[in-house]
């Protein structure tokens, strides 16, 4: 029954948080609630719980609760957060590039301009792979194949309209084919898509590098490229940019506060997160999870979101998922 209680306590905290306008607290006194706009086990949930763990162990917050509000690529959680966390100094939301896409394809009532960006936290490289048995040895072989017959180049990856789908469209475009014709088979996640790759049912696949790391290292999958702007230590596959293909796409995740919070509250939260991110505990955790540090402070992150929203809209329009 303790789980029930902690859930109820979390719900109570949201209610209390929305009602109280406590004066700006010292960072170490922070009592925070982080909303993961997805179910347990996903990327946002693990990011929220990682942050919870490190903020508490480094003393940058006294207590941190994580609540899951799953639904529609995070837009259900976002809408609830915009309404419930206005002006609140102790409520946070995790989000990322998939949410930017979901806002556009779902025509969500709120976008990320409705919340206060605090920091960009992590950025995972996507990896382009082919099965070990594939005739394609290099990225340019794959590009040739796409140019030859775009429809017969079958891609497998995560959800439709997500980062994986966007990258397949960008590569198709770079190969000189029509991105609207991409034959992209969407799976619920990198895991299920992996089975299709290993079973040799598709030509190529895209997923977060970490999800397929085991199969890449064991030689079951051949990694052709990563979508990160520069090479990453420990990853053999080279960036698309280094291979002469001018594409970068990072699966970034960031943290947001509610709309209209006071400048002092914002400064306190920013500082607490900046300190957490600098700590050796956070760096160790990133290494353990295979995440890349992609930290950017509030101002830079706000500008970044604006440019990403524009870019994502144009990619989704090219695929035909947005008008």
């Amino acid at each position: 029954m303790t789980f029930f209680r902690s859930r109820l306590a979390a719900a109570w905290l949201i209610a209390a948080g929305a009602a109280s306008f406590a004066p700006a607290a010292m960072a170490q006194d922070l009592e925070l609630t982080i909303m993961a706009p997805a179910g347990a086990g996903g990327g946002w949930d693990s990011a929220a719980r990682a942050l919870q763990e490190v903020m508490m162990s480094t003393g940058n917050a006294r207590s941190v609760q994580v609540v899951n509000v799953p639904g529609a690529g995070g837009t259900v959680g976002l809408a609830q957060f915009v309404q419930g966390a206005a002006g609140s100094p102790n409520q946070l939301l995790v989000g990322g590039i998939t949410m930017v896409g979901a806002i556009i394809t779902n025509k969500a009532p709120y976008d990320l301009t409705a919340v206060t960006p605090l920091a960009r936290l992590t950025g995972d490289p996507l990896v382009v792979v082919v099965p070990a048995s594939s005739p394609y040895q290099t990225m340019s072989d794959l590009m040739e194949g796409i140019k030859g017959d775009v429809e017969r180049t079958i891609w497998a990856g995560g959800s439709a309209g997500g980062a994986d789908h966007m990258l397949s469209a960008l590569i198709t475009q770079a190969a000189g084919a029509d991105p609207a014709k991409v034959n992209y088979v969407a799976y619920s996640g990198g895991g299920e898509a992996l089975a299709a790759m290993l079973g040799g049912q598709v030509t190529a696949g895209i997923s977060g590098y970490g999800e397929w790391q085991g199969q890449i290292e064991s030689g079951d999958l051949r990694a052709l490229a990563i979508s990160y702007p520069e090479a990453i230590e420990g990853i053999e596959a080279q960036p698309l940019k280094a291979q002469g293909i001018d594409i970068e796409l990072v699966n970034w995740r960031g943290i947001f506060a509610g709309p209209g919070i006071s400048d002092e509250d914002k400064a306190t939260l920013e500082q607490a997160i900046a300190k957490t991110v600098e700590s050796p505990e956070w760096q160790d955790l990133l290494k353990a999870r295979g995440w890349s540090d992609y930290y950017a402070p509030s101002d830079e992150f706000t500008a970044f979101i604006a440019s990403e929203s524009e870019r994502v809209t144009s990619i989704l329009t090219s695929i035909g998922l947005a008008e």
Partner: protein, 499 residues
């Protein structure tokens, strides 16, 4: 035999007193969350992740496995006693289990579920230990066309099995399929039938539907007839233990359920629900007294319960060998592995054999603990039925609403729960079977994406379904199962005419 040596070593790890304690905690927590509708093992493991970070990897993974197995186990208790399935995998258990409980046979129902789960888990865990690497090679060859074939078999058998006539079964199935269409289409990312309600974009939650139809519908039904009908469920009639006849009728369904559950659980998109439906249908077909089905046939509890636990062990096959989580709980467990810098996948068995075999050994131990924990409690559980009806159903209503809110805190979700409750009441009133609705909701979207993925890969050529031997065979079986009853009926008439 190398595996056996490793397994012995694994038992050494798992029998460490600390690890035994972790297994016990896991099993207890798992059973508790399995009993509560809405709070699944996935959430529990996620909540515990930061706490277990300080522990050693072996201990915490052993605890997670205990929660997982315990959750599969606990879900059956409420399904049998209160007609409120705690997990979607125990929906089928409620069908016969609750009928048994009302006739005073709640004890044997719980016992056959507990022992069946034990037997199934034992066999399936052995399968996991020895055949995982082999099984996974077969599983990844299973293409979308094969999944579609499997779904077809499930549809045909289910609609023929439930309800007083195939037409009623099909009508219920159609309602489920329609509900399954609601939400974002997985292949194109476009919303279907959501009417701009953001909470509908992710579709209808299976537990909300199951709890609404079963528990709330039932409560409304009982309330509507309370004044005219003083037929009360009998708490205990006869022994609360299984009789010799119960044992005789249970052991084959346990084995068949395991044989169905384990391989389907090992499929990357198999899940725990399909094997329970298939097992129920199989038992009904093979039963000596098929007329007892719907009135509390013990085979209908023994088979599906074995199947859902065997599939839980099956799920660990792709998780450990491919790093491929096929259920929400497995996904959280994957995060648990990663937090210790372990990458489940083809190299895990080679790089960390001590850990993998320790986990497998502790699954055996968790399994024994579950049996020890559950059997003595049977006598206590069945006393729940002695609570006066109005109290009992009021309790169930509160319980169902709280569980739904805990899993998904939104008003829309609660409204859906009530709407499904009313639907369940109407269907009961007019004698339509309820289970096919749940089947349709679970399998509809899976069949939809399997078919469309197949066609996407074949560039629109439907022959792809017949070109692969696996899917061709399964589609053949489905067509045969659909037509055979009519053909045999016709033949019988033909012979009669000759006489």
């Amino acid at each position: 035999m190398e595996s056996l040596a490793f397994l012995m070593q694994g038992f050494g790890t798992a029998l460490d007193p600390m690890n035994l304690a972790f297994a016990a905690i896991g099993v207890l927590l798992g059973t508790a969350v399995g009993v509560l509708p809405g709070i699944g093992p996935a959430l529990t493991v996620a909540l515990l992740l930061p706490i277990t970070f300080k522990l050693d990897p072996g201990g915490s993974l052993i605890m997670f496995a205990g929660i997982y197995y315990g959750g599969m186990y606990g879900g059956s208790t409420t399904a049998i006693l209160l007609n409120t399935p705690g997990e979607s995998a125990s929906v089928v258990t409620a069908l016969e289990g609750n009928q048994m409980a009302r006739r005073g046979r709640g004890g044997p129902a719980l016992a056959t579920a507990a022992i069946g789960s034990f037997v199934a888990t034992l066999i399936a865990t052995m399968g996991l230990a020895f055949f995982a690497p082999l099984l996974v090679k077969v599983a990844i060859q299973f293409g979308p066309w094969d999944y579609f074939g499997l779904m077809l078999i499930a549809f045909v058998t289910v609609s023929a099995t439930f309800g007083s006539s195939p037409l009623r079964g099909l009508t219920s199935l159609a309602i489920g399929l329609w509900l399954g269409l609601i939400g974002i289409d997985q292949l194109t990312g476009q919303a279907r039938l959501a009417f701009g309600v953001p909470n509908l974009l992710d579709g209808v939650e299976v537990t909300t539907l199951a709890v609404g139809l079963f528990a709330i519908g039932e409560a409304l039904h009982v309330a509507s007839r309370h004044l005219f009908n003083d037929e009360k469920p009998i708490a205990i009639k006869g022994s609360i233990w299984m009789s010799r006849q119960d044992w005789r009728r249970s052991w084959k369904p346990w084995l068949r359920g395991t044989a169905i559950g384990f391989p389907i659980g090992a499929l990357p998109a198999g899940g725990a629900e399909i094997p329970t439906f298939l097992s129920y249908t199989t038992e009904r077909k093979l039963a000596e007294k098929p007329e007892e089905f719907g009135q509390g046939a013990i085979e209908g509890v023994a088979g599906p319960e074995a199947a859902n636990n065997a599939s839980a062990a099956g799920t660990l096959v792709p998780l450990l060998t491919l790093g491929l989580p096929t259920s929400a709980t497995a996904a959280v467990m994957l995060a648990g592995f990663q937090q210790y810098n372990l990458q489940p996948g083809p190299l895990l068995f080679v790089q960390h054999p001590d850990l993998v075999w320790g986990l497998v050994a502790s699954l055996f131990i968790a399994n024994v603990m579950l049996l020890v924990l559950n059997l003595p409690l049977v006598g206590l559980w069945v006393r729940l039925l002695k609570i006066p009806l109005p109290w009992l159903y009021a309790g169930i209503l509160v319980f169902a609403c709280m569980g739904t809110i805990a899993a998904n805190p939104s008003v829309v979700e609660l409204m859906m729960l009530v709407a499904f409750g009313v639907l369940g009441f109407i269907m009961r009133r007019y004698d339509y079977p309820i289970a096919p609705v749940v089947v349709g909701l679970i399998l509809g979207p899976m069949a939809d994406s399997a078919l469309r993925r197949s066609l996407q890969m074949s560039l629109g050529d439907p022959m792809v379904l017949l070109q692969h031997p696996g899917s061709a065979t399964m589609i053949g079986i489905a067509v045969f199962a659909l037509l055979a009853p009519f053909v045999f009926k016709g033949l019988a008439r033909f012979r009669q005419d000759e006489d």
